[in-house]
């Protein structure tokens, strides 16, 4: 037995199930009551390899899931895991989405950015909200959660850059059209997660049209609980792991580095889009 103090140590959990979500995207399900809010993230530890942040993509009373896109060394190692394998989980961390105040939840997701937003859509549906889910990616095979979302009672709009399914174009173009035609009955907020260029466009659109919005941001995470200072953003100096990853529209607009640069694990600033 372990006495219960306030700690930040990984809890070892067996992977219950693994689902293929889309090309290079897998969902890992764990039997554990996590008690997170949509938008919060966990740190996934592979012993002796590394430990990295992933948003909670599903949760009910006795299980939760994360959805991992394979993009590099660590996420590829995650994709090689099998049901029954044990991994470490710390968290949940960070500030989640606030949706209780709004009647209409308008979601804009780019690629694996759909992970925290599908959990949000779920919770919002349970509370009887009207949910619109704009799901965008480069091509049809990159769209996650199609099954789950089309079975739920959300209004799902798929958008692909190559037109291989749904509307051809960008998710943000669809967002702008919806907001222009919106009849303004009932309170509405936009919820966005995805590539930073997309988030930047969401900020501009929502500020122009005076629509409330919350955005989930990414910066390199080390500790995840607000001590190491790795994830701080200019010029506010706030921590993405603590005051974020979800920030409101005004906060996002005051993050001067948004869409411009980010910091590597050494702390060096690199232009957004650069690899190293």
């Amino acid at each position: 037995m372990r006495l219960v103090y306030n700690t930040e140590l990984p809890l070892m959990l067996r992977i219950e199930r693994i689902a293929d979500e889309a090309e290079d995207i897998k969902t890992l399900v764990f039997m554990h009551r996590l008690n997170s809010r949509p938008g919060q993230f966990i740190m996934l530890w592979l012993p002796r390899i590394d430990e990295k942040p992933f948003a909670v993509s599903y949760q009910d009373t006795d299980k939760f899931a994360i959805t991992v896109k394979s993009v590099g060394e660590f996420s590829e190692a995650v994709h090689r895991l099998k049901p029954g394998d044990r991994v470490g989980i710390r968290g949940p961390y960070g500030k989640g989405f606030e949706f209780e105040l709004y009647q209409h939840v308008l979601i804009v997701a780019g690629g694996y950015g759909a992970a925290p937003l599908s959990f949000l859509a779920n919770q919002a549906m349970l509370q009887g909200k009207r949910v619109t889910f704009i799901l965008g990616a480069k091509k049809a095979s990159h769209l996650p959660y199609l099954n789950r979302l089309s079975q739920a009672h959300v209004k799902l709009i798929t958008v692909t850059e190559d037109g291989s399914t749904g509307i051809r174009g960008l998710a943000t173009e669809v967002l702008a059209r919806i907001l222009h035609n919106h009849d303004r009955t009932g309170s509405l907020s936009v919820y966005a997660c995805g590539p930073e260029a997309m988030l930047k466009a969401v900020v501009d659109i929502c500020r122009n049209l005076h629509v409330a919005a919350q955005l989930s941001l990414e910066r390199y995470i080390k500790c995840g609980f607000g001590i190491c200072g790795q994830c701080c953003v200019d010029e506010l100096g706030i921590r993405i792991c603590k005051e974020g990853p979800v920030v409101d529209l005004e906060t996002a607009a005051s993050i001067t580095e948004l869409g411009v640069y980010k910091r590597t694990p050494s702390g060096r600033r690199i232009a957004m889009g650069d690899k190293k």
């Binding site: 006495l3 103090y5 306030n6 700690t7 930040e8 140590l9 990984p10 070892m12 740190m43 530890w45 012993p47 002796r48 390899i49 590394d50 430990e51 990295k52 044990r86 470490g88 080390k222 500790c223 609980f225 607000g226 001590i227 190491c228 200072g229 790795q230 701080c232 953003v233 200019d234 010029e235 506010l236 100096g237 706030i238 921590r239 910091r263 590597t264 694990p265 050494s266 702390g267 060096r268 600033r269």
Partner: protein
């Protein structure tokens, strides 16, 4: 150097970026210390680099550093924008490299330079920390001294066999103050299900409540040994802990792990709690409490 209040942000906590330091100053710190600055770019260790166990924190961040140019950019931003004085912390692998970094960093005009001779997490790369031997500790401080006109604080290790010898050595080498202590150990945490150490570096330095009584004893001993002002660091998370440190001989207290336990407002909370104690105890100035835990003779005997 004049502090706004006796609480100082310790090095390596929320000190990677200039704007983060400014944010901590905005939340009430009396002074802020940068993450230790080195010459070359280093990514630090892989994750996990920091964990909280039942009695404190354990870290092996591995001295990540964006390189001197980027570090100076962050430092300048902090110096220009912070409400509180900025202390630049330095690390290096040789005494002469300490001199080079000190010269570069001084141009950004921080209020003071802290010489980190006591990091326990990079021994495999840098060898034994300077702060474990009086002669090497003195050499590092001398090299910094020769390359700056700024006041110098030497950061000591609780792992030294006789921390008083080290304190005397850095005093003679020209340090204007000492900060004590850096993290203890190293220690280790093992996950019994995977049978693996959890920190990627396997071992890490201990801070927070577990370190507090050791830090207190170190400061108590140093106060007897040298006349330098002391910044007492280790497990400060409340007014009570800060006052004990001051009574042991500290002039100011450093706070790092306390942010985990009390949030980023820990600086203003600790100041408020110190003030409440002083109001009740009949103290009007912090100075009246410095070193009063010592028997009178002990202080005179040195």
């Amino acid at each position: 150097m004049k502090l706004r209040n006796p609480t100082v942000l310790a090095s390596g906590i929320l000190g990677v970026t200039g704007s983060s330091l400014v944010n901590v100053a905005r939340h009430g710190a009396g002074a802020v210390t940068t993450k230790s600055i080195g010459l070359n770019e280093r990514a630090g260790h892989k994750n996990p680099i920091l964990l909280a166990f039942d009695a404190g924190l354990i870290n092996a961040v591995g001295l990540p550093c964006p390189g001197i140019e980027e570090s100076l950019y962050e430092l300048r931003y902090a110096v220009e924008n912070s409400e509180a004085p900025v202390i630049a912390s330095l690390f290096a692998s040789t005494a002469s490299e300490f001199g080079v970094v000190a010269e570069r960093v001084s141009r950004a005009k921080p209020a003071m330079i802290e010489v980190n001779i006591s990091c326990p997490n990079v021994a495999s790369e840098f060898g034994r920390p300077f702060a474990l031997e009086a002669t090497s500790a003195a050499r590092a401080v001398e090299a910094v001294q020769a390359n700056t006109r700024l006041p110098i604080v030497a950061k000591l290790s609780p792992n030294a066999n006789n921390i008083c010898d080290i304190a005397r050595a850095v005093e003679e080498a020209g340090a204007d103050a000492v900060s004590a202590v850096n993290t203890l150990g190293p220690g280790m945490i093992i996950d019994i299900h995977s049978a693996k150490p959890i920190l990627c570096n396997k071992t890490g330095g201990i801070s927070g409540p577990a370190l507090r009584p050791i830090a207190l004893r170190c400061v108590y001993d140093i106060y007897k040994a040298v006349d330098l002002p002391i910044i007492g660091i280790g497990g400060i998370d409340s007014g009570e802990a800060a006052i004990a440190m001051i009574m042991a001989g500290a002039r100011a207290v450093g706070i790092g792990s306390g942010i985990y336990y009390r949030g980023i407002d820990v600086f203003s909370s600790v100041c408020k709690e110190i003030q409440e104690f002083m109001d009740h105890g009949g103290y009007s100035r912090i100075d009246e409490m410095i070193g009063i835990a010592h028997e009178k003779e002990a202080r005179n005997q040195k």
